[in-house]
């Protein structure tokens, strides 16, 4: 897929993945691949800055879980209430955008 599309919607994708269950970084990438049959293939180096930005903005909260392969507790990201509100807002924006694109092509839904 076009990497610009992924980059432009990274927050929407991450919040969606974390909507139902907290996950740690590597698991988020796996989840994105699994749920889209490999369509969402992150440039992984951009994932962590995005997660930290969402945490700084209060859209995600951090929880520490079981011990990982490096002997330290895994860092899980969980969506906050503010994150859910933001997700709803982004979904509406995205829906409006894709609807407009369809309308341009004469395929309004």
């Amino acid at each position: 897929m076009n990497p610009d599309l992924l980059r432009g919607n990274l927050e929407l994708i991450l919040l969606t993945i974390l909507e139902t269950t907290p996950l740690y970084g590597f698991a988020i990438i796996q989840e994105a691949k699994d749920r889209t049959n490999g369509y969402f293939d992150f440039k992984e180096g951009s994932l962590y800055p995005a997660l930290h930005r969402l945490e700084q903005d209060g859209l995600l909260a951090v929880q520490f879980g079981e011990i990982g392969r490096n002997g330290k507790p895994r860092k899980y990201y969980a969506i906050t209430e503010r994150g859910r509100q933001n997700l709803d807002s982004k979904r509406r924006e995205f829906s409006a955008f894709t609807g407009a694109v369809h309308q341009l092509g004469g395929n309004a839904t």
């Binding site: 992984e44 180096g45 951009s46 930290h52």
Partner: protein, 405 residues
Amino acid sequence: MITLTLSQSAALNAYLRRATWGLPEARRQDLWDELEEHLLARAEQLQFTGLSSTQALIQAIRELGSPSRVTLGMAKVYTMPKLLVAAATLALSISAGLYVLASGGGVLKIPIFEQPRVGQLCVADTSETLPLNLPVLPRRHGEICYRISKATDLTSYPSLISVPSATRVMQALGGSVVVRADGKIELRRPNGTWGRGAFAFDDGTQRYIFASTLFEAVMNTRDRTDAITLSGFVRPTLTIGSTTIQLIGNSGDKVGNTIYGSVMREVIAAVIFNNAYAEFGFQQTATLPRVSQHQIQTRLPAGEVVALITQQGKNSFSTDFAPVSNNGTLRLRATAARLHFVGATTEMGLDSTRLRTEVRAARQRLERRLLGLEAQVRRARRLEAALEPSPKDEYEDREISVTAL
């Protein structure tokens, strides 16, 4: 927890160091741990596809991408100054292609001297000065000088490191060496803790400090979280964080004896107390009266180092250590005539109620209360796997072949 080879660890640390460069310390450690877990998880996954552990780690690093991408992304999150971001861009663009090359490279080789060169040996004349049984030369201001000749036998003398070499080590670790006006040496680490050399030697060409002074300072585990790995005996290799230092002596085991002797305090603090700040006394078992030698058969690889910690009193311990020979045997000294081994550090602890019960029972069979065998914490797990079980009863189920010599 995954165990990496030295070169794999060096490559991983080189990547992580660059990916977290310039971040505030708390954030840096946080991201370091997170990326490390990611890389190890992905490498493990890749190994299932048939890649070797090294190939898997390199592939995982490639997939995570340039460390500069991560650093610059994080810089935007934590609003690093623009100038710093620009500097990071430049530095990382230069180094980004090199991080995989870190495996096998970047080892700082430091010579350790087993005795001063022929000439003179000058020692700061303080109340702490050790008496040396050597010909004394005319006193200089504030120093006592001894004559060192080819016939001088200093085989029992402590290993030495030159001040320039000590400076290289400290600088590689982000610290510094300061030569004070009174002739003493201060070893300063980035976090502010430091060691002090009681003596500065001068053999006419260079000044020296005891190598143990340097090792004790750099391997001090208080106020730090970075991993310390020590391996090898004849040419010990010390890895602290992303820095690897190999110590090269003139010959024999003297360097190994010096560096492993220097780390015993940290091993006891970690293994027995799980507390870097624990206060206790310890000495070499060899200096105690009525010491027994034990020959121990293991399946550990040659060169692996095993240490024996024996409790001598309420808060005092004695230690001995030895490298494993080519046939898997090693010899350790202990005040007990018979040894019992445990396979986990939890079975050696002092405060667990369960352990007290076990130890009371075990004491009926032991001449002294022996806490167990331990090398460094990481090596203990490997040792456990290497020991041959010979189940007898609750306390002897991990006993291995031990013969009093």
